[in-house]
């Protein structure tokens, strides 16, 4: 069955079609399928739908299909299937009854079946109209326009079983007892170390430590150190150590401009101090 007949079909469309009267309406798109067309034709018999003559209905339907075909209106297959079926019923119904007793009840039954289906469809249409005439929300009766609403809030209902507690206890205590409190040494050069190394380096580069030497060249290289101390830490600690020594008067430190190399040289005071320390 084709879906072409499905949507956008209103009651009004069918009613309008019916109003046109006895003449066959060839706009079959007004009907959803053969059953709806048959129902429409039956309504045009203007008798109680329970008393419609299937024979008469069959004739109407067949002539409808014929004229549609004459007008080269494309008919969905199910219209033609229905036509064939009605033609068969019609032929059985008009056969003289006393010819073959065994065949006739079958035709009657088929006709009754069709009549029933038409009646059932008609009943459902009326029922649909009835439902739609009931008082509806937003149409005939109205609910509160701006209800405050009933809110729900959930609060947690905490749950635990004994095993949870024991497991938590075991894990917690195991962790605490085994926990190693050795704090890993941070990978930095300590100020103390930097100071010692800087002093030593200054002493070793020149006998006359009053020559300016680049601080950079005095730095220990990473490989000299027991741990993998990053260069930036060595540089930073050494600079701070240098500033500290300069403050103590042991060295002088200078830089000619931003980002230019930093130079250091020993002072007499520094030399004396070192000597006194050595002796």
């Amino acid at each position: 069955m084709s879906e072409d007949f499905e949507e956008d079909v209103k009651f009004e469309a069918a009613d309008d079609a019916a109003d046109v009267g006895q003449g066959l309406i060839l706009d079959i798109s007004g009907y959803e399928g053969p059953l709806h067309l048959l129902l429409e034709l039956a309504r045009q018999q203007k008798v109680d739908i329970a008393r419609i003559s299937i024979l008469e209905l069959s004739e109407q339907y067949l002539s409808f299909i014929k004229s549609a075909q004459d007008l080269r209106i494309e008919l969905a297959a199910d219209y033609l299937v229905m036509a064939a079926w009605l033609a068969y019923i019609k032929s059985r119904l008009i056969l003289p009854r006393d010819e073959d007793e065994t065949v006739m009840p079958e035709a009657d039954e088929l006709a009754a079946h069709l009549a029933f289906r038409l009646q059932r469809l008609e009943a459902m249409r009326r029922a649909a109209e009835g439902i739609m005439r009931l008082p509806k929300i937003g149409q005939q009766v109205f609910v509160r326009g701006n209800p405050e609403g009933l809110r729900s809030r959930t609060t947690p209902l905490w749950q635990a079983n004994l095993f949870d507690i024991l497991q938590a206890y075991g894990t917690s205590r195991s962790k605490a007892a085994i926990r190693n409190h050795k704090v890993p040494k941070p990978l930095v050069m300590s100020l103390e170390e930097a100071r010692t190394r800087l002093r030593r380096a200054l002493k070793s580069v020149s006998v006359d430590s009053s020559d300016w030497t680049a601080l950079e060249s005095l730095l220990p290289i990473t490989e000299e150190l027991p741990e993998d101390i990053p260069k930036t830490s060595i540089k930073a600690s050494s600079l701070v150590a240098g500033l500290e020594l300069a403050k103590l008067g042991e060295i002088e430190i200078r830089q000619t401009g931003t980002f230019t190399p930093i130079f250091v040289r020993g002072t007499e005071q520094g030399a004396r101090k070192q000597e006194s320390e050595v002796s």
Partner: protein, 244 residues
């Protein structure tokens, strides 16, 4: 020993006094309960069933009696307390319809296909798609069912216990609430249609008449929907759900 007896008696007196005091304190404040019920029903966005009301009302409230009294209080007023789809709600009196054009919604135009399908589902439920198609004589398009589904008026109920296990359709409480029906048996003319044999989904010769009921639970002939070993289910309906 006698000492013990005296103590026991004293305890008994004590218990009696506590009992009486409690009872006096618990004397239900009907007006207060009625006020609360009224507020709950007013504030609710959807109709509420008595069970929910009972949960939200103070313990021991006679909700049925309070509902009856509230309904009586509002009889003949501009707003009424009504019972729809087994739930309670306030709504405006129907005769005032014409004065409330401000809030009137534009009527939803349903196609003939949708209207007929709705009626068939309402009166024949639980009903399969094939049965709807048998009544209408045409295929039911997915779009028609979708429209009704989107309105919240029909729902998938389960699967019929027949070969192919087709899905069954039924109406929702929302449908009842929208059309002011208390139960599905209130459908207009339902008994007459049934008596006339017009609710028979099958051929007229085998007059097995299913009664159109809208049980929340599945009928004997239905299986629940969530049937994972039915691949067609996913093909057929999951895709559609996604489209919505």
């Amino acid at each position: 020993m006698s000492n013990n007896r005296v103590e026991k008696a004293a305890a008994g007196i004590e218990a009696g006094v506590v009992d009486l005091t409690e009872r006096l304190q618990q004397k239900p404040d009907i007006d207060q309960e009625l006020r609360l019920l009224e507020a709950l029903l007013f504030a609710a966005v959807e109709p509420i069933d008595s069970e929910t009301l009972r949960e939200r009302m103070p313990e021991g409230s006679d909700v049925s009696a309070l509902l009856a009294r509230l309904a009586r209080d509002y009889t003949g007023r501009g707003i009424n307390l009504v019972h729809v789809a087994g739930r309670w709600r306030f709504q405006t009196a129907p005769d005032l319809e014409h004065h409330l054009l401000d809030v009137k919604e534009s009527p939803r135009k349903l196609s003939r296909a949708a209207l007929e399908t709705l009626a068939i589902i309402a009166y024949h439920q639980p009903v399969t798609r094939a049965e709807i198609e048998d009544v209408r004589g045409v295929a039911v398009s997915r779009g028609t069912l979708d429209v009704l589904m989107e309105l919240g008026w029909i729902r998938l109920r389960g699967r019929r216990r027949t070969p192919g296990r087709p899905v069954t359709y039924g109406t929702t409480d929302e449908f009842l609430a929208h059309f002011n029906l208390e139960t599905i048996t209130d459908l207009p003319g339902r008994d007459d249609l049934k008596a006339a044999g017009l609710l028979d989904p099958r051929l007229p010769k085998d007059f097995e008449m299913p009664s159109p009921v809208m049980p929340d639970d599945l009928t004997d002939e239905e299986d629940p929907l969530d049937d994972v070993d039915e691949p067609e289910f996913f093909e057929d309906f999951l895709g559609d759900d996604e489209e919505q």
